[in-house]
Symmetry: C2
Subunit: 480 residues, 2 copies
């Protein structure tokens, strides 16, 4: 069972920013202005010994001056002042203290470690839960909690917990651009008190959350973590990016959050046994989040692929099969139907479908649609993959063709009810219309409920992990 | 020695498009209009039995009607008419016939294979070299030859040969957006006559070309190809994407260009022995092309890394070391200098440098620059890597900071003379200013002569291949 004080981490009735500042370069300014801009649903109090006004709010000179109880305190003050703050928190019945404050255990210096230990002990003695130190805190859009200006205002069903604040920014921004919205996101830094395990217990039981992603540098109680993880993965997919897999990486986790990375091969085996979806990079984590967010259950690993041109078709086949997915030839019943449709030219139609032969053969989008329908409907195929990338038009006049192709893919997949991954290569072009078209294409896919990927390899990698997860679940006799 | 007729493939004095069409949907229209738009430097002739005018040029009713000799003919007419065209070519002393014309061996049908064999035999009997069939042809910007509207008009020193036309479009567009310009690019399709080996001989000896990339589905004379490849890699880096590594991929090479892919493990061993730089995807091929295009020789595998935030630093360390690069702690002499610079706070400075500690510690870009300088100048470090990705500003007001960071990285690397890879994450955002800033950042890097990558993993992968190439060359006692 989750600690009920964590309810206050996500849904505080009142929140005080201690260290609120009128200087826009200071994090104490940013926290305050972000909470105002996100219309935080509880009472917001700003605290700074200098007093005054900020964003039309009174600035209290101390936490003690704040009227009434405070559930959640954000600290941006120096580490040396935190023990004093904890005393004040206790008299205000604060439930959670989130420390942006850093320069503690992660420095690797004796003084920093000792002070962090003292802070934790003092907080525990007062019944106060501590988030951080050295963290950005909580993004919970439903109640207007955020630590970045540009995170989406709307809620969704994805959760992300991370020891790195930079990664929370990257994951939320990038996944949001690909259609994902979040239930709860936590940057938890040094994990001195509230840690990955506490958060995993909470999010595993959280009805708002359907998929959990995590970025983990170190774990203090490994057996308990693995037990909690195994329980969470039975409830919903849990994606884990466990770093520190090399000597230099492991050294860097110590100086980042004071975490001990541990042996990577042992971690790999243990995570796999718990049913976690393991990834090696932030982009792979985002790809998996997007995949689980959008796709229905996969029943098997047999792929029907529409592979852009000839070269793209070959790469799709290679990228899928080298990851254990199957790209078989079209079955006899599909071939018979293709023959009825296009006569002698049936020889041009394969799996993957090379769409570059379609128009030179004199066929239209209608023939393409009917060919893809025959594949999508056939029970042999479990999962679809469509690559529109190489069709990126050469000149603006060809834009309608791009949209027509996308129409075909989206319509057919929607009707079939099967999971489909769509590949649209990145908009990193200097021409305004190309970038816009890329983003328009991506938006059309996500609005239609399909995940979109920037390369064939990333789509194949995400699908292979996604399918493996579902096959394992199904082998265990469980359904989502 | 290269066949001197291949000079006409790249530098024809005159070129005829047979099948030139006034219909913009036809490839015969596109070839003609692209050559006009690229200001092809030789005489351009358009041929179509219907005659008339197109783009202000007379359309001849047959090749025979064209006045004078023709070096290069592009055929967009049906396969069944090509044997007749070869007769006409012979009387016009045509040197090279490029067949966009397809529907031959790649259909897998007996008729197609036989007709392709007849075409090759007829061409050889007339002393005519054949490019294709089933290919887009040549992009040689210096003489105004192109098969896509939006390829760059300027020349460079990268060459690319590909059995896939789609990949040529993708590679040229994407590499161009990252600052690469091309000497010569060939889409060679079924390779019925002119093949990868002929082109590799030519480009290996070509003074305009400093790096060669290739996308290969199958090779007909493997021993000769390997001999030529080994020779070429002694002259310049040769990047090879050999596909058909799985059963489905290999089936797809057969239906794309009628190529036999062969055993992938044998290919891997053979390519490695020849000193080729092997890649598995188009994006990796582009990354390597960008890397070899921009970076000077790497002397070793020890990396000095500026790693954006804490999380980014750990991932940089993991991604580098898991690929055999070394990310050691800062050496004692650098640590001493850092102590002089920032006093007690020296504990915050590591390799990778976590730039997120810099500004909270009260330092400015000046301290950051001097820290990076100490690393860049130190003889321990062979190659630099800088990640600006997580600094992508949250609000437009933070744009100057992004540029200041980039200034620092570029200035320091330029002064040090060491190879540096820069990571700027993709511009796939819906906000106009974010996309523009990304592209501006990328352009600043490439204009300063540095390669830019969209992810840490891709930068580390490209650097590891690049460094391995140079270490091998240096072990062989060769210098570039």
């Amino acid at each position: 069972m989750a600690d009920s004080r964590l309810d206050f981490l996500f849904c505080p009735r009142s929140l005080a920013v201690v260290g609120a500042s009128p200087n826009p370069d200071k994090q104490g300014y940013r926290y305050a202005s972000q909470l105002v801009s996100f219309r935080f649903r509880g009472n917001l109090y700003l605290v700074n010994p200098r007093g005054g006004d900020l964003f039309g709010c009174k600035v209290y000179r101390s936490l003690a001056e704040v009227p009434g109880e405070v559930d959640y305190v954000v600290s941006t003050i120096p580490a040396s002042a935190v023990l004093g703050l904890i005393e004040e928190c206790a008299s205000k019945k604060v439930k959670v203290l989130q420390m942006y404050t850093a320069h503690l255990a992660e420095t690797g210096q004796k003084e920093g470690k000792e002070l962090q230990d003292q802070i934790v002990a003092a907080a525990r003695a007062k019944g106060l839960r501590l988030l951080g130190p050295n963290c950005m805190g909580v993004y919970h859009p439903k109640v207007g909690l955020s630590f970045r200006y540009n995170f989406p205002r709307e809620s969704g069903t994805a959760a992300f917990i991370s020891q790195s604040a930079g990664h929370t920014a990257e994951v939320v921004h990038r996944a949001a651009a690909r259609g994902v919205r979040f239930s709860k996101v936590v940057s938890y830094g040094n994990a001195a008190d509230i840690n990955e395990t506490d958060l995993l217990v909470y999010l595993g039981e959280d009805d708002e959350t359907r998929v959990i992603a995590s970025y983990i540098e170190g774990v203090s109680d490994v057996p308990r973590f693995l037990e909690v993880l195994a329980r969470a993965t039975r409830a919903k997919p849990v994606i884990v990016l466990k770093v520190g897999r090399t000597e230099a990486g492991s050294r860097a986790t110590t100086s980042h959050t004071g975490s001990l990375a541990g042996s990577h091969s042992l971690w790999q085996a243990a995570l796999s046994q718990c049913g976690a979806v393991q990834v090696d990079s932030v982009e792979e984590l985002i790809d998996l989040l997007v995949t689980f967010y959008f796709l229905p259950v996969a029943r098997g690993a047999t792929m029907g692929v529409i592979g852009a041109g000839g070269g793209g078709s070959i790469l799709s086949a290679d990228e899928c099969e080298s990851r254990g997915l199957r790209v078989p030839p079209l079955p006899a019943d599909v071939v018979e139907e293709v023959k009825k449709l296009v006569g002698d030219e049936w020889v041009l139609v394969k799996n993957p479908v090379d769409t570059s032969v379609i128009f030179p053969a004199g066929w239209t989008h209608e023939e393409l649609r009917r060919i893809f329908e025959l594949i999508a409907r056939n029970p042999l195929f479990d999962v679809l993959m469509a690559d529109v990338g190489e069709w990126m038009p050469d000149i603006p006049e060809e834009i309608p063709r791009f949209h027509a192709l996308l129409d075909t893919y989206l319509d057919v997949a929607r009707t079939s009810g099967k999971p489909m991954a769509i590949i649209i290569r990145s908009g990193d072009y200097f021409e305004d219309w190309r970038w816009k078209l890329t983003m328009e294409g991506q938006a059309r896919c996500t609005e239609a409920g399909f995940p979109v990927y920037p390369t064939i390899a990333r789509a194949a990698q995400a699908l292979s992990q996604f399918i493996r997860y579902h096959l394992r679940r199904s082998a265990e006799g469980q359904t989502l």
